[in-house]
Symmetry: D3
Subunit: 289 residues, 6 copies
């Protein structure tokens, strides 16, 4: 990746809250009783955060915050930042500080890093497969509850782009809304009446006829749901740049290239956030300064 | 599964908190603007929660709480409870209530159900593979931050059993603790001195020599880390029932049977909670009563 | 207002949180010691929520939640819903329930209702003044800290529309961003690169030259800041429908009509939310059933 | 104001909570996407907080906390502290730090400062009008929900004094309490029986006859509600120093002087906190050190 | 106690928060694993809340809320309300509902009831000892952190009265304040300048000379700290009704009567809230309806 | 105590939360109005935390956090750490910092220290009485709601050991569970089926016959409830080391030695946490540097 890395930071209060929840979950009322029993309170140590497989890194802000929560004076040296590629066996960061703090925070830090890097890595695989087409890989609202902001950052770290963040920041008119509103026309009219001037409107269609009907209402984007590649290409042609085109449904590492070659602008992949395996990361601890 | 299903409930306040976080994340300040624009406020609807692939269900308490959060009067009819098997295409539950509430809660409910059922399903695959041996499949602390209680319930739904819940409820002396304490003996002595009578002690060993040394201190369990099957079998023989034996490291769907046949009591699998793909579940909405 | 009233509801968890904060603030640790001393615990009462001046109502969801927080069995009969006009002396709602609950919740309920109705009423005055032009009245981020969602609902109740909700749901490139990015061109390019396909981009300009430069980058909207009416009209003409036009700066009840007649699409008014006086509302209490 | 300024600080945890709420509201999950796109992460900048109209300053503790929340290393130089007068065009404070932090925190900081300074400024106008009489200007519980502590501080910054903070810290027997208790006598007796020795008792009266009856029970203060000036003067004479006298109802900038000249001790003005327009404050940003 | 019981309720949100904290503490992430293992999910049961020693009851609102948190449909029949006397072996309340809910909530409910009734019972012992004198027994700020509102209610249940609730609702000028302010005079002047008209002022004195000096500034109350009975009597005489007199320091069940006979109005006892042993209460569980 | 003191720290986030609650309770919305009125904002002071009676110290982490919450730059010098003995009149710690901060935090700090040291001191009295026997003193779940982690630390400071922390971290099968499950056998079988390999199981018995039945199921521990000393000794003999033995019921300072001499491993004492009087601690304030 020779291009500059994207600028990947979350609002720090969000990160602090996520960490507080995770640490409370792991420490309970009694704390890390094993470490307390076996490690002297003032012992110093260092640690190396490393990858055990190739991948794209995401979540270092969480890692840093985790160690600092247990030892505010910890030092952290990041070797591969969010969005960077790491090879199997390579180091991602080095940490030095209080020995107990490192051991107690280790699992929480690695859980965040492994989860987010897993998403970044899977995203990157999809992104690499569509290189050379106009298609960009985009996420969905199928995120792990409580971690949406973190997972959407990880998607960006992997080279993907974000769809809307929630039900509140854009309008996406789906099949059920259309049926309930009495058709594409009434649904689009109601949506437009409700939307402020900074709110975009996308509408889901499953046939070319529906697409045609939808385009008459000038949506910002159309969600072409579960269309086979041939129909997708036809749809893209029909849209002719009048709206952003998004393909969804049945997207896998096997099918994504073919879909991209239909000319769609965006391909949304729920699996990025709901089914990415963790990147295998580890923490090598070394007692002493 | 002819045996009675396990009894799978979380403390309701935990569930309420998880839901509140997930809903806040999806609703923001403005709420579900699409649904508000297109669905009349008092419209009624029903929905069918179904599986699109075979699997084991987990998370219905979350699904129920999600819909009730938006419409306290919603009715829910569970067809396949937590821990039950569902076939591709079959229904898991039916829901009826306010149309807006169903549409607004749908994604959050499905996110919880897909995530937890994914874990239950993967766990069940491991459990099925070791059937007939004495080995049980057990989880780890490699959980998704914020969701540990939910994920550990999902593991039980899949037929697995839970390891300790956190750093606070049991002692697990790992390599770094041993080094820092100056050896297995001092580490075990300090652990024993710290542990109350209701706290169990497990110790990690990587060689048969370490195992022998550890057994001299009567741990409740030994974690046999990254041992090849031959060594595992020898370790089990050496332990001879004096401690619970847990194998960890390198456990996959391909290797788990061979590991189980070494006679170990437990096989821990981090992937259960950190890398299970979602079970593909969906919500079919139908307007009207 | 013969048109149907807009559909004005906030996500209930937001309302519950706002109420909990307000009640905690008023009740402290000791509660309503006056009412506890003077009113029998089981006494019943009714109350009439009324307006003491003409205005537009907003906030009844808060009023209802306030009384229910103190007496879950309270009955509330709304006579003028959110968005409706009320005359001086007329009733807005009637409440009946436990006497203590009514007296203890009264001030909190009236504080929300008076504040939100004040905003709705002021918004409506602006809206009425621009009737017949294409201009719509729009709010800003100059809201009372902690009450943004409530205040933006009140703006809608008064017939206004909402600008973006925060820094997160749309891009608004202002003068400082432009300077820091090195000009309109670079700023727009960076903004476009960052924005997902559901994120709109607006850019602030103060001269016609800047406007021209901005239009070359196809923004969704242009913020015409502090332009005199003549220049505004020229700007609207120059835009020629290629972007939504928003006028801001120096908008008062005296100037808004003239601004609207320039043909702009939107006129943003910070005062709607930061300087609207409360609508004078009151609660007439009557002991007994 | 040659007298030393009052000592105006809120408990810092209250301020931190108010800020966290306000920032969460403005940053959402995605943060300040405009600033992130256009301003380099490590750029430095300075800013000048200034007034665009004459007024009294309040809220600098909030301003300081807002900028520090985004950049803990920010430097802030206060030129006009809380309670001080600022002229149109003059600077209130200077800030220097990370450029993104300044731009992201700006609106939240200005929203607090404008709101609180608006209250201080309106309070000061009332205070100035009663100079030379014994009357002091006092606030009410008609505050903006969630901001009571901040608004009461702003009233003190403007030279006013605070009434009770809530339902919990003093007894105020109003008309409804009197009716429900069966008259002034029984209400006062019950109030006295409930009040600890550190709790003051005030009672509302609307006629001289009620006043006389109330005085027989030695209240600490009497609330003379909606009495015309002539009756107020008579009431003050009748009280003759036996209780603090508070006038309320119909108090405006036009009427306050006449009311003050009746000799009352206190004049309570709900508008101070429920209807003060913001003081127009702004933030001039300058990139670079 | 033939007089009607005092009216003892806390703001319900306070109670809900206290319960949520206590239940979270006891349930953790896994919940009541013993009850879940041994009691069928739908089993019904009843229980009797009883006293094992004589005492005064306080905390039933907490007991009720605890059981309802686990089973919203539980029925509770209170036999001895807050403030009532219960004999050893007698029942305080009867509960019926889901068997698991009763067993899981039992300890939390009994912990609140035992703690609060312990305070009420100790308070009542002091109150009984001063019967016939003018002295009332009053609490202090020496409360258990987090439970102040509950403990102050328990004091009232035992027949005591409450001192100020915190640092915020009254002024109590102590020795350190006097020294720092440069003497009683300056301290009282500053206090008076700061206090609103609803805030009382008490001042601590340790000698008759200090008392005399303090009385010149007309405090609402004087705290006569650590004075021997003879000096106390003299102090009361000197005050001659010009201020409320409060004795503090060295108050025990042995000394309280003698102190009361000096004629002081109030005797403050820190031990009421910091050292009261629990009242021994228990829960007798009976399976079945 | 010549042995090294135990290592007594709580997870800092738990401490921060406990402090935030306690400070909010004491400061309310207005803060420490007395100190604000009488002490200059920048005055410096020092303080000595001392004991007024002999005892064992616990809670210094809370003391430190309390003062730092009000003045982050405060310096604290601990003379007697948690678990150390302090004589009447001796100093425990010295504090220096902002004068207002010291006075405002004083009561909260002393409330925590007095409460926790009271528990440590009472625990130590029990521990001293059983010296020379094998018995250790152990706490229960009869803790003050909200303070369990703090109180269990205090028990360890006094030389006691901790029983389970809650319903979640160990199984304790009590009489009601046995009855509901249909006997000791079924109850133990269900418990064992539910327990993970890191969860210990204890069972309550009241007769030797029940004990015999329970031992057949190899519990980790047996709770010998309310057995007279003779029966206890017989029970210990019968157990013969096959399980940990815990005596409970009727344990007082008078009876504990006799119980210990029966040979039981553990003696649980609810009074440690529910009825320990505060240790009398105080704060001597001195203005100036």
């Amino acid at each position: 990746m020779s291009a500059p890395l994207p600028d990947l930071r979350l609002p720090q209060p969000l990160v602090d809250t996520a960490l507080a929840t995770a640490l409370a979950e792991d420490l309970g009322l009694a704390g890390d009783i094993t470490t307390e029993a076996t490690i002297p309170r003032t012992a110093r140590a260092s640690g190396r955060v490393g990858a055990r497989q190739n991948g794209v890194v995401a979540g270092l802000q969480l890692v840093e915050t985790a160690f600092k929560a247990l030892d505010p004076g910890v030092s952290i040296d990041v070797l591969v930042p969010d969005g960077g590629h790491v090879g199997a066996g390579a180091a991602i960061a080095r940490v030095a500080g209080n020995a107990r703090a490192l051991l107690t925070a280790e699992r929480v830090a690695m859980n965040f890093l492994g989860h987010m890097s897993g998403i970044a890595t899977l995203t990157h695989r999809y992104v690499a497969l569509v290189r050379g087409t106009r298609a960009r890989i985009i996420d969905t609202r199928k995120t792990t509850p409580g971690l949406r902001a973190l997972e959407k950052l990880a998607v960006r770290a992997g080279g993907g782009v974000n769809h809307r963040f929630g039900l509140y920041d854009a309008i996406l008119v789906k099949d059920n809304h259309i049926v309930a509103a009495g058709g594409i026309g009434p649904a689009m009219k109601r949506a437009r009446a409700r939307a402020g001037h900074m709110v975009k409107i996308e509408i889901e269609v499953t046939t070319l006829a529906e697409l045609e009907e939808a385009l008459a209402h000038a949506p910002d984007a159309v969600l072409l749901d579960n269309m086979p590649p041939g129909m997708l290409a036809e749809a893209v042609e029909k849209v002719a740049g009048r709206a952003v085109t998004e393909a969804s449904g049945g997207v896998t590492l096997q099918t994504v290239r073919q879909i991209a070659e239909t000319g769609v602008d965006l391909i949304s992949v729920g699996a990025l956030t709901h089914s990415a395996p963790n990147l295998d990361v580890g923490f090598d601890f070394k007692a002493g300064d």
